[in-house]
Amino acid sequence: MPELQRKNDLAIAVLTLVAAAQWLAERPVRAVDLSPRNANYTISVSLDPETKLLEGRQVVLWRNIQDAATGELRFHLYWNAWRNDQSTWLREDRYRGRSDRGEEVEAGDWSYCEVDSIHLLDAAGGSGTDLTPTMRFVAPDDGNQADRTVFKVDLPEPVEPGESVEVELVWRAKVPRTFARTGFRGDYFFLAQWFPKLAVFENGRWNANQFHAATEFYSDYGVYDVEMTVPEGWVLGATGREVERRQNEDGTVTHRYQQDDVHAFTWTTSPDYVEFEDRFEEPGLPGVELRLLMQPEHVKQKDRHFEATKAALRFYGGWFGAYPYDHVTVVDPAYGSGAGGMEYPTLFTAGTRLFNPFGGGRPEGVTIHEMGHQFWYGVVGNNEFDYAWIDEGLNSFSDARVYDQTFGDSYWTERYFAPPGIEQKHGFFVKLFGDIPKPRAIDGNGFARYREMAVSDVPTRPTWRYHPKTASGISYSKSAIWLHTLERTLGWETLRRIMSTFYERWRFRHPTDEDFFAIASEVAGQDLEWFFDEVVREAHTFDYGVQSVSSAEIAPRGYFERDGSLELEDESSETDDAKRDAKRYESQVVVRRYGSGVFPVRIRAKFEDGTETYREWDGRYRWKRFDYETSSRLVSATVDPERVLLLDLNYTNNSKALESGSRWPAFKWAGKWMIWLQDLMHTMAFFA
């Protein structure tokens, strides 16, 4: 019996351990605060869809986690960027020549955010000092006195390190007709950066950039407790989870959402949303509840949205670190709202169209990208004014990898028959060219956009100071491409460890670019400063090419010493057939560095007998010659045959054959172009 008792006890212990492990695996990752929680918001807001007005009241509890005191507070009022056309944002938007909206701004389209009062609350939470008279707009970036996107208030006493202040703001805002993916269209409202938002106090000063056309946002982590009142029957989605819902007597409903450890709060509401739910489950990763708000006409694409979201959770989680929240909301924005493709904590917008074929990249690509931002931006909270490449570049690189792993290549698509005379409208009808793949290394990373803007700015320059026309090309595409180059240089596993270490160390913190570079060298176990000096700290062009190739049979002629006597060497005098037929070739390959950037490369020489020879070159000097003496003639040479240096602007010149190829490839493609031209002429004649 004691033996049986012991076995029973053992069985119970094992079962208990298994159950506990199972319970732990299903629990959220954390049991403690994830972030400093030094900027906490309690907000109450109501939306009037008719007047497009928000009326809000918020209490901000801010704790000084720096080593220096401050005698002021600074806030962002992002919606004032579209208050009038003199704002810094709209001036820069005009300058970049690619309007965010593509249509004229009408009277009802403008927006504002007006703070009616701001009070410093006393310890008991009552209205203490009225700070309103001290409000001043500031323009630290460009001195534009007309810009109203940053204001400051003076505190009666400085806030010392470790101390907290609580301020109450009463404000109202006019919702814009969508700018920068926030605003309304019809009864569809997507509200981001909608409230007065505290800037970040760091390094002894307030980091409060004005709102620029080519940059995004920066704020501290905290707890959000937000009540949003909207008409009854309107579906609402927001950062966080709904914890309460109240029916009001005036026919409105108040939704209360809460979320810990985030640095922004975004919400959306519309009577048209169709809601779906799913759950992400993956061994080794915590479960995540998925909530999908879809437009009615897109419900057939709901599984595509879920699959893409889960792919991002699976791969980002497995590669870099688990998603720390237990829920995420995916929003399918309304047609024409301009709110698609944007990230916010625990909520993001994807974006699709009718007839989007599978394989064209949408909605899967944008869904993966925006879910990926939950990691790069949401959890690793870089300052998007200064270091936009950290989230956009890391994420663009990562999402291309996820897409490639999950779906393979995407394919070339064209949209036809857009309404004439309307800028930036894409056609309603789409054709997928299933035999023209868009591989990850090129199109997944945005090679075309990088090529256009390759040297427009030094990537490590603060993003808000980039040329407005090229910021996206640098932050997204160039960054993704140099990361991919780094992957090919170090290997995926090393890069993965670099990125996962960066994710782990900078979760819920604000890293700089140097933080990433330092981790890269540390994890790689080698000094990578040379890489970052060439690729990121300068605006170099990279272009290696084969300048020339030659290969000639060695046929020595004349008198040569052989065994102590002079012998005449001449092909005609050679009597030994074997010797005469044992040909030797002397081949030369000259490679050149055409660009300003330096990168070590390999050179591959191919010979007629099928052999290949590889040589290394540090790529420093402007050119180098490689000599070969072989029994076979050289056929071709290629510099960087594995295309490690994806930043190389002109890969066509990386290879050179001794003899030019036939015209058949050119005939093939010129022939297709000719068909197009012939058809163009036909159509002209049809109208004549």
């Binding site: 249509e103 007709r177 269209r185 019809g186 569809y188 437009q295 009615p296 006409e297 309304a334 024409g336 709202s337 009718l354 064209e414 036809y416 028959f417 857009a418 004439p420 005379g421 309307i422 309603f428 054709k431 060219f433 035999d435 023209i436 090129i442 090679f447 075309a448 090529r451 290629t638 602007l649 002109n650 890969y651 066509t652 010149n653 990386n654 290879s655 050179k656 030019s660 190829g661 015209r663 490839p665 050119a666 005939f667 093939k668 010129a670 022939g671 297709k672 172009w673 000719m674 068909i675 197009w676 031209l677 012939q678 058809d679 163009l680 002429m681 036909h682 002209m684 049809f686 004549a688």
Partner: protein, 299 residues
């Protein structure tokens, strides 16, 4: 059309010959850019978007018009799309000039073609067609210019219509609804274009059949004929429209993609596309023949 297949082939050949110099230019440009490189084999077997972005941005304006979306039925869709929103008029001047040469040649031939389709006309011979065509050319050219003026007015109308429609639908959040409104507007515009096309066709036919000398009066005649027989005229047009759609549907199914990778398959692919162009041309001439017959019966 069936009476003179040589005529169809001659027009097709002219189209080919006029396009050939520019195509040779593009061919040599691609060859010189690629012949020595590893991309040579890649382009033979398929396509590479990395090569494409390099080629597009490092060559001239003409090569910039090269696109992988011109494969198969994509060529026709791309052209129609550019006509729809007027971007065709922003094309490279050399392309427009080349097109203008073909248009002029077509107008020269057209008069002879229409003459050959008249009731009782002898079996057409190319020299006769050309001689007749040259005689009618000045009048047909004037009608074409007047028609061009009509197209311009329609173009300006679309530039007014669609932005107004956009403003009216700006608060609609359903793409399906917006598409429906745009389809209705597009159908109206297509109807206008079709009617103008028909008026122009019958104006030209009246020049041939009734030996009219005034282009203005011919256009008036054409307008009157269409107005007097709207449903029959449109019925004939619709019939050929449906046949054209079937032709394009068949071509979209069999059109070569990018997989032609041997000299034989490359030539076959090119040849198949030329057959499509010949069929298009033949259909156009057949339609004109139907219009001539209809005019002679009901005019």
């Amino acid at each position: 059309m069936l009476r003179a297949p040589a005529l169809v082939l001659a027009i097709w050949l002219a189209n080919l010959v006029i396009a050939a110099p520019l195509a040779v230019f593009v061919l040599e440009s691609i060859h010189s850019f690629t012949a020595d490189s590893d991309y040579h084999q890649v382009l033979l077997e398929g396509f590479d978007t990395g090569w494409y972005w390099e080629f597009k941005t490092s060559r001239g304006a003409l090569e910039e018009t090269f696109s992988p979306s011109h494969v198969g039925i994509g060529a026709w869709l791309a052209n129609l799309d550019r006509w729809w929103d007027g971007r065709v008029f922003l094309e490279e001047p050399v392309l427009l000039a080349t097109g203008a040469v073909f248009v002029l040649l077509w107008l020269v031939v057209l008069g002879g073609v229409l003459e050959a389709m008249r009731e009782g006309a002898p079996r057409p011979r190319l020299p006769t067609v050309l001689a007749d065509g040259l005689g009618f050319f000045p009048r047909l050219l004037r009608i074409a210019l007047l028609t061009g003026g009509g197209y311009y007015l329609i173009f300006r109308f679309t530039r007014w219509l669609f932005p107004r429609l956009h403003e009216m639908t700006i608060d609609l959040t359903s793409e399906r609804q917006v598409l429906l409104y745009n389809l209705v507007a597009a159908a109206f515009v297509v109807l206008l274009i079709t009617l103008l096309r028909l008026v122009s066709d019958y104006a030209k036919i009246s020049v041939i059949v009734e030996r009219r000398r005034s282009a203005l009066l011919a256009v008036a005649r054409g307008l009157g004929f269409v107005a007097g027989n709207p449903f029959r005229v449109l019925g004939v047009a619709c019939f050929y429209g449906v046949v054209t759609v079937i032709l394009f549907w068949v071509y979209s199914a069999v059109a070569p993609g990018v997989g032609d990778s041997t000299p034989l398959t490359i030539l076959l692919a090119f040849g198949l596309s030329q057959v499509f162009l010949i069929a298009k041309q033949a259909l156009r001439i057949a339609f004109l023949g139907s219009e001539v017959a209809f005019f002679e019966i009901h005019g």
